[in-house]
Amino acid sequence: MSASRLREAAGGGGIALRLGPFRVRLVTRLPALLDTLQRLYAPLEAEIPAGIHDFHVQVNRPGGLRGRWRPQALFLLDGEAPFEPFPEDHAFPLFEWGLNYSIATRAHRYCMLHSAVLEKNGRALILPAMPGSGKSTLCAALMHRGWRLFSDEFGLLRPESGELLPMPRVIPLKNESIDVIRTFAPEAVTGPRFPKTRKGDVVHVAPTAESLARQQEGAMPAWIVFPRYRPDVGCRLRPVPGSQAFVRLSNNAFNYHLLGETAYRALTNLVKACRSHDLQYGDLEAAVKTLDQLVS
């Protein structure tokens, strides 16, 4: 779709986008949002909406008096606004954040781990998000060393088969991580810098072309690695007992409690099928090398 055709479609009946197993219909009249989408998901596979969409989303200026002084963008899911508007020039992070919200609140057909997931040689590595883990930095680094990105945020687990499904989205990097990745992988495609978000400055790293192209291809999990960034440590890998890995992973899933028995069984099987480790790292190159050795 050409840029002008895209704008016309997005402002009218909307465009249909793929997010791994999900289909989203997006209606927007904000050209900057479309430009960023085209840059970070190139080639953007936008279609004219047809068939079933999991999420009907609008990102537009709110009506009424709101945003008269400073332009704003409002995210609507099925016509309802789950949160307050963002400044209009933050429409892209708003869209990504809104999608995460939409998935986390509705996609209970899956067990949803709050983890980064990457794949190599047909097997998946789970990196649970813990405070101070540096998970996004490590995830972006691995993606630029031959790993296929499933997700930086959502480990989508099909409970009945134990398979993990990809949903490659941009990886948000904060503050000093931005320069770390630019040095580590100068080829990384990045989006505009969004200053002063709630988490500081944010820059998004695009998923690699391969990750996007193969986003319908799942994998069975093989490793769970709990990363922890520690500037004083080079790189240290230690096995974690299964019961501990289970407890940490279940505490960290978005919908463990909601899914109850289904999640208990799925995560038990997952942990029993995986090897679990703690990874402390200060040196990104060493961490990537250690993980490559772990899986080879």
Partner: protein, 361 residues
């Protein structure tokens, strides 16, 4: 009309097998908006067509079903905890609405979400029950003195209780409708007809259960869930009349006896119109009801119908009719002077940005 697709499927679930993907796209959104999405799975399974439905539709329905399972588990557990605390008091408890449907395995329980546990106790047992629960870690949801007084003086329930750790709202009623309302339900008659499940635990008799749902739908503040509640009534009617041939005659008779002719009549009209509920002639015959004058009846019928008809998520709601019906339900509930006072109080509070603490569902 857009919303008719949902009605069409609820009336004839077998039609789900023949829907196009575009129709599914609309149906999923409509059903979600009206809290009926998870109902589609049992309806499709009963028809033996669940596996034929598009995978994306099934994924969405299963996602909604997971919520429902979770909330039903929370309610079952809350009931277990409440009964543990009340065991030594020996107080009879009666389950209302969703909890009763679940306990009896009635058709509306399948795929029905519920957030509160609704219990009926006798008025004289109320203080003991409330005391015991407060002592065992439940806390009153309402802190505002005005609202506390409003509940205690005028409502048919005590202010909702919530356990500090579990967060499930427990609504303890001593009657089905507010004390001051136009409809006065002789509650002892309901206790007499109640069906026991276990020691000190019972549910309403079939006709009373349907009548309670009807009365609740007509006088409740929030009509957003109205279509869902009306569908409960549709399913209850089909279920109870299939199990007992006398049920259709008993229903309007019992409504007269309990002073609930009007809500039943309104609800029968709405269900007949929206779902083609297979009511027997005696249920549809106005002669079996004690009804108000023709004008009020017509206006009320119109309001019920227009407010309940499903709408597309972005189309907005029938705000004006809802507002009228809201006034109406308060008029039924409270003497006029008190109504004016309470409404003024509510608008002031709303300006202040806090939601008002009136009895919801």
């Amino acid at each position: 009309m857009e919303g008719d697709l949902l009605l069409h499927v609820l009336k004839a679930p077998g039609e789900m097998a023949g829907l196009s993907e575009e129709e599914w796209d609309r149906l999923l959104r409509l059903a979600r908006t009206h809290r009926l999405l998870a109902r589609l799975e049992p309806l499709a399974r009963d028809q033996g067509i669940w596996q034929e439905l598009p995978e994306r539709a099934r994924d969405n329905i299963r996602g909604a079903q997971a919520w429902v399972d979770h909330f039903q588990l929370r309610i079952r557990r809350e009931l277990m905890e409440v009964r543990k605390v009340l065991r030594h008091l020996g107080v009879p408890l009666l389950l209302l609405k969703g909890a009763a449907y679940m306990a009896e395995g009635l058709p509306p329980a399948r795929g029905r979400s519920l957030s509160d546990l609704d219990l009926l106790v006798r008025r004289q047992d109320l203080p003991r029950v409330e005391r015991a629960l407060l002592d065992a870690g439940w806390k009153s949801e309402i802190e505002d003195d005005y609202d506390q007084r409003y509940y205690r003086e005028w409502m048919h329930e005590i202010p909702p209780l919530v356990h500090l750790l579990r967060g499930v709202e427990v609504d303890i009623h001593h009657n089905l409708l507010p004390r001051t309302g136009r409809y006065q339900v002789p509650i002892e008659k309901l206790w007499e007809a109640a069906r026991p499940l276990e020691a000190n635990l019972s549910v309403l008799a079939p006709a009373d259960m349907l009548l309670h749902s009807a009365a609740h739908l007509v006088v409740s503040d929030e009509l957003r869930g109205g279509l869902r509640d009306l569908f409960d009534i549709h399913q209850l009617y089909i279920h109870f009349s299939a199990g007992d041939a006398r049920f259709p005659r008993e229903l309007p008779r019992r409504a007269r006896e309990l002073g609930l002719s009007r809500p039943l009549w309104y609800v029968v009209q709405a269900a007949h119109r929206l779902f083609d509920t297979p009511f027997s002639p005696e249920v549809l015959d106005p002669a079996g009801y004690e009804l108000p004058g023709p004008v009020t009846g017509r206006v009320m019928r119109y309001l019920v119908r227009e407010t309940l008809r499903p709408r597309a998520p972005e189309a907005g709601d029938a705000a004006f009719q809802r507002w009228l019906l809201y006034l109406r339900s308060h008029w039924i509930r409270m003497p006029p002077g008190l109504l004016a006072m309470h409404l003024a109080r509510k608008s002031i509070r709303r300006l202040g940005g806090r939601s008002a603490g009136v009895a919801g569902e």
